[in-house]
C-alpha cells in the first residue's frame, strides 16, 4: 500500500513525458505474446536485459494461461456438464493466472521500473493489445 502511495505521489510530482507501446507478437498464432524488441525510447532508461526478462516472463505467464493442459480440459468438461453454471462460484484458470500476472507487474514496477521513472500498465487494462510503458519526466532534478 505504501508503494501504491509513492507511485501516486510520483505521478503528482512528475508529468508524463512519453508513452511506449509494446505491441503483440502474432508469429505463434493468436496466443497472447508480446514483442521482445527493445524500444529505442527506453534505451536511456533501462537495460535491455532487464526489459527483455520482464517481457519474456509475461509471455510465459500468458502462455500458461492459454495452455491446453489437462487441467483446463477437466475444467472445460466439468463446466460443460454443469451447463457452465460452475463459473458462477469458481474462478477460471485464466483468471487465476491473470491475478498472478497483475502481481508480477506490480512487483516489477516497485522494484525495477518505478526507481527508473517508468511505469508498466497491466495489458489487461488495454484489452491485451499492448503493454503500455509510461515514461515520467522528473521535474525535481535538472537535466
Amino acid at each position: 500500500m505504501a508503494e501504491t502511495h509513492s507511485l501516486q505521489d510520483m505521478r503528482q510530482q512528475v508529468a508524463v513525458a512519453a508513452k511506449v507501446f509494446i505491441q503483440r507478437d502474432y508469429t505463434n498464432g493468436t496466443m497472447c505474446q508480446f514483442q521482445t524488441k527493445f524500444p529505442s525510447d527506453l534505451e536511456t532508461k533501462i537495460d535491455k536485459q532487464q526489459f527483455e526478462e520482464t517481457i519474456r516472463t509475461l509471455n510465459n505467464l500468458y502462455a500458461e494461461a492459454e495452455k491446453l493442459s489437462s487441467q483446463s480440459f477437466i475444467e472445460g468438461c466439468l463446466a460443460c456438464l454443469t451447463a457452465y453454471t460452475v463459473f458462477l462460484c469458481m474462478e477460471t484458470h485464466y483468471e487465476k493466472v491473470l491475478k498472478k500476472i497483475a502481481k508480477y507487474i506490480q512487483e516489477q514496477n516497485e522494484k525495477v521500473y518505478a526507481p527508473r521513472g517508468l511505469l508498466l500498465t497491466d495489458p489487461i487494462e488495454r484489452g491485451l493489445r499492448v503493454i503500455e510503458i509510461t515514461i515520467y519526466e522528473d521535474r525535481s532534478f535538472s537535466r
Binding site: R11, A15, K19, Y26, E66, S72, C80, R129, V130
Partner: protein, 479 residues
C-alpha cells in the same frame, strides 16, 4: 460492492495510472461516476448493470426463446403424460434435462461478451499512426495505417487496420458491422441468439445448436411437427462440427481463407493437426476473460501527456490532430480526393451503378489489398475490366454461413438485419465497409456505395484486385 469486485479493482488499480483507488473513492469529488458499459462505444445493449451484453437488435432472439418455450411447453403438457404412461417416465426426464441445457446454453451465448476488443486509447492510436508515418516516410499527405504482414506457423497472414477501433486487428478477429465492434476469433453475427459469436461464446453457441438438435430430434421422434426445421438445425450443427474439427471460423470458411484451392501451399496455421485436439481446444480450452471491463468505472481524468520538451515527440500535437481527424474531416478529405482521382486519366472506367464488393466471397488476401488502397480519405472508382455484379443473395452481406446449403433456417432469417441497414446501404460488405463510417456517407452522394481508392495508383495491386474479384465471382457462381 461485492467483495469479489473490489478485490479485482484492487488488483488492477494498484498499478494503473487511474487516479481512483478503492481507498480514495470515499474522498473523491461528488461527480457521478459512470460505469464503463454506459460509455461503451459499440452498438450493444447492456442489462443488469453491465452483466448482460447483447446486440442492438434482439427481436429474433425473443422469437427463438418463444419458439423453444412454446414447442417444449406443448410437448411436456400434452405428450409427456401419454408417453410416460405408455412407454417410460424417463422420457420427460430426458426431455426436461435437454430443455434446460438448451435454455442454459442459449442464454449463455446470448448474454456473454463474444470477445469484443476494446478500442484503442487516444495515446495508442497516436503511437500507431506515428509508427506508420515513420514506416512510410511522411510526404505531407499522410496515408492511413494499412496492413501488417505476419508469418504464423509458415503461413503469411495479413493483419488489417480497423478504422473504427483504431487498432490492427489480431489474426482471426473481425469487425462486426451490426454491433460496431471488433471481435476476436469472429465466427458470425447470429440474429437468432441476438449476439455475435466469437472466441468467448463459440463453445456455448455450439453446445446450444448441438443440444437443440438432440432436443428437436427427441421431440419429433414422438411428434411430427416440422421436419424442415429439424434438418436445418441438424445441418447447422453438422456444419459447425466440421468447423470445430478443422479449427476454422465461419468467416474463414466462407472466404475460403485456408482452402487448398487458393494455392497448394495454403493451409490453416491455427489447426493443431488432428481433429481431437481441435475439438478440445474449441470446447474445453481455457475460457478467456472479457477484455471490456463493463462494470468498472470510467476514469474521471485520463493521464495527460506533458507539453513536449527537449525534443521528445509531440504527443500533444498528435493528440489534437487525432481529435480533428474525426469521420467528418475524413469525409471532406475523401471527397476532395475523389474529385482529384476522377480527374486522373489513369483510371479506366467509372461505373455508374453502385459497386458492390462481394467481399464475403473474396479470399482473405484480396481484402488487405483493398485495405491497402483504402483510406480514411480518398475514394475512387473501382477499376475493373468487367463490372462486379451486385451480390445476388442478400444474405451474403451478413457475416454468416447463411448461403451454405444446409443452413436454410439461417438464410431465411438473415434478410432481417439487412433491412435495417437499408437506410445506409442496400448491400453491406461484412468487414471493410463499417470500419470507416465516414467513408460510407461520403461514398453515397457520389453514387458509389463502396469504393476503393487509388490515391496512389498502383497497377499491380489493381490487377490483383481484379483477379480476386473474378475469383470471388467464380466462387459465388459455384455456390
Amino acid at each position: 460492492p461485492p467483495p469479489g469486485k473490489s478485490m479485482r479493482e484492487c488488483e488492477y488499480s494498484q498499478i494503473s495510472t487511474r487516479s481512483s483507488t478503492p481507498m480514495e473513492t470515499p474522498h473523491k469529488k461528488r461527480s457521478p461516476k459512470r460505469k464503463k458499459w454506459e460509455a461503451f462505444p459499440g452498438r450493444n445493449k447492456f442489462y443488469c448493470d453491465g452483466r448482460i451484453m447483447m446486440a442492438k437488435q434482439t427481436g429474433v432472439f425473443y422469437l427463438t426463446l418463444v419458439l423453444i418455450l412454446v414447442t417444449c411447453g406443448l410437448f411436456f403438457t400434452f405428450d409427456c403424460q401419454y408417453l410416460a404412461k405408455e412407454l417410460t417416465p424417463i422420457i420427460p426426464v430426458i426431455g426436461g434435462a435437454l430443455f434446460l441445457f438448451v435454455l442454459g446454453t442459449l442464454l449463455r451465448t446470448s448474454f456473454s461478451d463474444p470477445g469484443v476488443l476494446p478500442r484503442a486509447t487516444p495515446d495508442e492510436a497516436a503511437d500507431l499512426e506515428r509508427q506508420i508515418d515513420v514506416a512510410n516516410g511522411s510526404t505531407g499527405y499522410r496515408p492511413p495505417p494499412r496492413t501488417k504482414e505476419v508469418v504464423i506457423n509458415g503461413q503469411t497472414v495479413k493483419l488489417k487496420y480497423c478504422f473504427t477501433c483504431k487498432i490492427f486487428r489480431p489474426p482471426r478477429a473481425s469487425h462486426c458491422s451490426l454491433c460496431d465492434n471488433c471481435v476476436e476469433r469472429f465466427d458470425h453475427h447470429c440474429p437468432w441468439v441476438g449476439n455475435c459469436v466469437g472466441r468467448r461464446n463459440y463453445r456455448f453457441f455450439y453446445m446450444f445448436i448441438l443440444s437443440l438438435s438432440f432436443l428437436t430430434i427427441f421431440i419429433f421422434a414422438f411428434v411430427v411437427v416440422c421436419f424442415f426445421s429439424v434438418w436445418s438445425i441438424v445441418g447447422l450443427s453438422g456444419f459447425h462440427t466440421y468447423l470445430i474439427s478443422s479449427n476454422q471460423t465461419t468467416n474463414e470458411d466462407i472466404k475460403g481463407s485456408w482452402s487448398s484451392k487458393r494455392g497448394k501451399d495454403n493451409y490453416n496455421p491455427y489447426s493443431y493437426g488432428n481433429i481431437f485436439t481441435n475439438c478440445c481446444a474449441a470446447l474445453c480450452g481455457p475460457l478467456p476473460p472479457s477484455l471490456i471491463d463493463r462494470r468498472g468505472y470510467v476514469e474521471a481524468d485520463a493521464p495527460q501527456l506533458a507539453a513536449p520538451t527537449n525534443g521528445i515527440t509531440m504527443y500533444g500535437a498528435t493528440q489534437s490532430q487525432q481529435s480533428h481527424m474525426c469521420d467528418q474531416d475524413q469525409c471532406i478529405q475523401s471527397t476532395k480526393f475523389v474529385l482529384q482521382a476522377a480527374a486522373t486519366p489513369l483510371l479506366q472506367q467509372q461505373t455508374s451503378e453502385p459497386v458492390i464488393i462481394t467481399s464475403s466471397t473474396e479470399n482473405g488476401t484480396s481484402l488487405p489489398a483493398r485495405a491497402s488502397l483504402t483510406l480514411g480519405g480518398p475514394c475512387s472508382t473501382f477499376p475493373l475490366g468487367q463490372p462486379t455484379p451486385p451480390t445476388s443473395t442478400p444474405s451474403l452481406s451478413c457475416q454468416e454461413a447463411a448461403d451454405v446449403l444446409p443452413i436454410h433456417g439461417h438464410t431465411l432469417n438473415h434478410t432481417y438485419p439487412l433491412q435495417e441497414q437499408a437506410p445506409h446501404h442496400h448491400y453491406l460488405t461484412p468487414e471493410e465497409v463499417p470500419s470507416p463510417p465516414g467513408m460510407l456517407h461520403c461514398g453515397s452522394p457520389l453514387g458509389h456505395s463502396h469504393t476503393v481508392q487509388a490515391g496512389f495508383y498502383n497497377p499491380a495491386s489493381q490487377d490483383s484486385l481484379h483477379e480476386d474479384s473474378v475469383r470471388g465471382l467464380v466462387k459465388l457462381s459455384s455456390v
